[in-house]
C-alpha cells in the first residue's frame, strides 16, 4: 500500500493523542506524525511553513472541542491560509460529538473531507489512507 509522508493530529486530550499516534504508527502508513494541542498551535506552524511543501501534511485529523482555538475556528483560519499552501490537504474531523448539528455544519464546509466519530480505529484509518492515495 502507498504510504503518505506527513500527518497532523490536532487534539487537546492527551489520551486521544496517544491513541491516534499509536494507530498511525501501527498502520505503518505514515512517515511523520506531528501533534498539536489546539487549533492555534497548528495554524501558527502552518503559517510559518506554508512555503515548505515537505512540512505540509497530506492529512489533518482535527478534533472539534478544544480550548484557545477550536476545530471550527481552525478551519476558518485554514481557509484564509489555503491560497498560500501549494498542496492538497485532506482535513478529517475526528470528534466525540454525535450532535447532528455538528455533522451538518461539517458537511457544508468543502475543506472537510469527512467526519469521523471517535474512537479512531486502525481499520478506519487504513481505509482513509487507502482512499486518498488512490
Amino acid at each position: 500500500m502507498k504510504k503518505i509522508n506527513s500527518i497532523f493530529v490536532i487534539d487537546d486530550d492527551d489520551i486521544c493523542q496517544y491513541i491516534a499516534v499509536s494507530i498511525i504508527e501501527h498502520s505503518e502508513l505514515v512517515k511523520h506524525t506531528k501533534v498539536f494541542n489546539n487549533g492555534k498551535e497548528a495554524i501558527i506552524y502552518l503559517e510559518n511553513n506554508c512555503q515548505i511543501l515537505e512540512n505540509i501534511p497530506e492529512i489533518i485529523l482535527l478534533d472539534l472541542t478544544m480550548p484557545v482555538m477550536d476545530g471550527w475556528e481552525f478551519i476558518e483560519n485554514y481557509i484564509k491560509l489555503k491560497p498560500r499552501i501549494g498542496k492538497k490537504v485532506y482535513i478529517y474531523i475526528i470528534s466525540s460529538s454525535i450532535n447532528p448539528y455538528d455533522f451538518e455544519r461539517a458537511k457544508n464546509i468543502s475543506e472537510v473531507s469527512d467526519y469521523i466519530v471517535k474512537p479512531l480505529t486502525l481499520e478506519g484509518f487504513t481505509e482513509l489512507v487507502k482512499f486518498i492515495t488512490k
Binding site: 472541542t65 480550548p67 484557545v68
Partner: protein, 486 residues
C-alpha cells in the same frame, strides 16, 4: 256678483287645499305607520302599514285600546310620562317596543301629535311611527358583543396621541390602576421598558397609517409587576382615512410567556446536557475500548503496562463528570433548598479547608473582608459551593508569572447584597467569550484542569435562588466575579 265669484274662488282654493292634503296623506300613509286614537287611547283609525306591522286587521283594531300592542318592555312611568305630555296638548316622541298579533316584537320610532279643540284641549291623538326594529336589533347585538368582549378581553381606547380615553374593568384589574388614574394619561404609563425603541416605532407607524397592528407586549402594572398581553390595535378612521382613535384589544398571556421562558430554559439545559453527554462523557468513554483492545493486542508486558496507565485518566474524568452532572441536576430539582442565617466568614473558612488551600505548593495571597455584610439568609450549601468554585477558578487560571492575589469581600449596593471574588490571574477576553462564560461549551485557557463546569453550576445555583452572577475581566490583568443575591 262679487260675492259669488269670491265664493267660487274660495271653493277652488279649498278644493286645491283638500287635494294637497289628500296627497300629503297618501305620502304619509305610504311612508309611515299612522294611527288615530280618541283621548282614552281607543283606536279610531289605522292605515295599512299599521296593519302590516302589527299583523292585526283593521276590524280587529278599530275600537280597541292601544294597549293591545303593549309589549310589557317599558315600565309604568314611561307611559305615564307619555300620557302626561300629550294630555297637556304637547307632542311626544320616543322609541317604543310593541307586540304584534303573532307574539313577535317590533320597535317603532313614535311621534304622537294631539289635535286640539277650540279650548285647546286634545280631542284625539295622531301617532306617526317608523319601523326601527332592524336598527334596534343591531344595537342590541352590539351591546351584547361589547359585553362579551369586555368579559373576555382587556379593552382600551386612546386618542391619536396615545392618551387613554376609555378602559374596561379588565384593564384596571390587570394593570392594578383605577379608572381615574388611567383616564387622560398617556399609554406609556404601563410601559415596562422591555421592548426596544424600534418595537414601538413600528407599532406607531403601522397604526398611524390606519393599519391594524398585532403583537405581544410586556407591560408593567402599578405595583411594579409585569404582565404580557397579546395585543391587537385597531385604528378608527375618519372619512379622509385618517385615524381618529385607536381601540386596543388585549389578552393576558403572562402564563404562556412564563411557560415559554421555562421551556426555553429547559431546552437550553437539555442542549447543555446533550453537550456534556456528547463530549464530556462520550469523549472518555470512546477512548476506553480502544485502549483495552490495544492492551489485548500488544506484545510486551512493558507496553501493556504503559497503555494500562492511560486508562486511569478517562476513568477518573468519567467519574468526575458524572458526579458533576448529578450535582447540577440536583440543583435544578432542589425546589425546597434549605435557607438559614449563614455567616460569610464561616462559609469562606469551610471552603478554604475543602480546597486544602495551604497544601498548594505555590504561594497565594488571599484576603477577605466581610465587615460590611457579615451574614445573609441563604443556603449554606450553595454559599460554600460559590466560594469553592470561584476561589478554585482563580487558582486554576492564575498567571504563572506573578504571585496570585485573591480578594473576597461583601458589600451592599442598591439594597442588594453582593459577594465579589477578585483575582490578578490570566483574565478572560470578555469580547470573545463573555456570552459563553457561564455555559458548558468551553474553557478559555490552555489549562489541563479546565473543564468549564464550576461556573455553570455556580450560575445554576445562584439563579435558582433568584440572584445573578456576572464577570468583569481584562486579559492578563485578572477577573472579578460578582454574585448579586436577591
Amino acid at each position: 256678483m262679487p260675492n259669488t265669484s269670491k265664493n267660487i274662488r274660495l271653493l277652488n282654493e279649498l278644493t286645491q287645499m283638500f287635494s294637497e292634503l289628500e296627497q300629503q296623506k297618501i305620502a304619509l300613509d305610504y311612508s309611515a305607520i299612522v294611527a288615530i286614537t280618541d283621548i282614552k287611547g281607543n283606536i279610531i283609525y289605522v292605515n295599512d302599514k299599521f296593519c302590516i306591522i302589527s299583523k292585526y286587521s283593521k276590524e280587529e283594531l278599530l275600537g280597541k285600546n292601544h294597549r293591545i300592542l303593549n309589549s310589557g318592555t317599558h315600565d309604568k312611568l314611561f307611559f305615564k310620562e307619555l300620557w302626561k305630555t300629550i294630555s297637556r296638548g304637547k307632542v311626544w316622541s320616543g322609541e317604543i317596543k310593541n307586540k304584534a298579533k303573532d307574539g313577535s316584537y317590533y320597535w317603532v320610532h313614535t311621534t304622537i301629535v294631539p289635535y286640539l279643540n277650540e279650548e285647546n284641549l286634545p280631542f284625539q291623538y295622531v301617532s306617526i311611527r317608523f319601523d326601527i326594529t332592524q336598527k334596534k336589533e343591531q344595537q342590541e347585538k352590539l351591546v351584547q358583543q361589547k359585553i362579551a368582549l369586555d368579559s373576555a378581553a382587556i379593552v382600551a381606547i386612546t386618542d391619536v396621541k396615545g392618551e387613554i380615553t376609555y378602559i374596561n374593568d379588565k384593564f384596571c384589574k390587570i394593570s392594578k390602576y383605577s379608572k381615574n388614574e388611567l383616564l387622560g394619561q398617556n399609554h406609556r404609563i404601563i410601559n415596562s421598558g422591555y421592548h426596544e425603541k424600534d418595537f414601538f416605532q413600528n407599532l406607531w407607524s403601522t397604526i398611524s397609517k390606519g393599519q391594524i397592528w398585532t403583537g405581544d407586549i410586556k407591560n408593567k402594572a402599578k405595583d411594579g409587576t409585569y404582565y404580557w398581553v397579546s395585543t391587537t390595535i385597531i385604528p378608527y378612521l375618519n372619512d379622509m382615512g385618517k385615524p381618529i382613535q385607536y381601540v386596543s384589544i388585549r389578552f393576558d398571556i403572562t402564563k404562556q410567556k412564563q411557560q415559554e421562558e421555562e421551556l426555553k430554559n429547559r431546552a437550553k439545559l437539555l442542549e447543555d446536557f446533550c453537550f456534556i453527554v456528547s463530549h464530556n462523557l462520550r469523549a472518555p468513554i470512546s477512548n476506553l475500548p480502544v485502549l483495552v483492545s490495544m492492551i489485548q493486542n500488544c506484545d510486551t508486558f512493558e507496553k501493556q503496562k504503559e497503555i494500562a496507565s492511560k486508562l486511569s485518566k478517562p476513568v477518573n474524568v468519567l467519574l468526575e463528570t458524572f458526579n458533576e452532572l448529578v450535582e447540577s441536576l440536583h440543583v435544578r430539582n432542589d425546589v425546597n433548598i434549605q435557607t438559614e442565617y449563614v455567616d460569610f466568614f464561616e462559609c469562606y473558612n469551610l471552603a478554604l479547608e475543602n480546597l486544602c488551600i495551604d497544601t498548594y505548593n505555590f504561594e497565594i495571597e488571599i484576603l477577605h473582608d466581610f465587615s460590611l455584610i457579615t451574614s445573609i439568609y441563604y443556603s449554606k450549601k450553595y454559599l460554600k459551593s460559590y466560594f469553592i468554585n470561584l476561589i478554585s477558578n482563580a487558582i486554576k487560571y492564575r498567571d504563572p508569572n506573578r504571585k496570585l492575589k485573591i480578594i473576597v469581600k461583601t458589600k451592599k449596593i442598591n439594597n442588594s447584597i453582593q459577594l465579589s471574588v477578585e483575582d490578578n490571574g490570566l483574565g478572560i477576553d470578555m469580547k470573545k467569550y463573555g456570552d459563553k462564560l457561564f455555559g458548558l461549551r468551553k474553557t478559555f485557557h490552555e489549562n489541563p484542569e479546565a473543564k468549564g463546569f464550576g461556573l455553570f453550576i455556580t450560575k445554576t445555583q445562584v439563579e435558582s435562588l433568584g440572584g445573578s452572577i456576572m464577570a468583569v475581566s481584562e486579559p492578563n490583568e485578572g477577573s472579578t466575579f460578582i454574585i448579586k443575591f436577591n
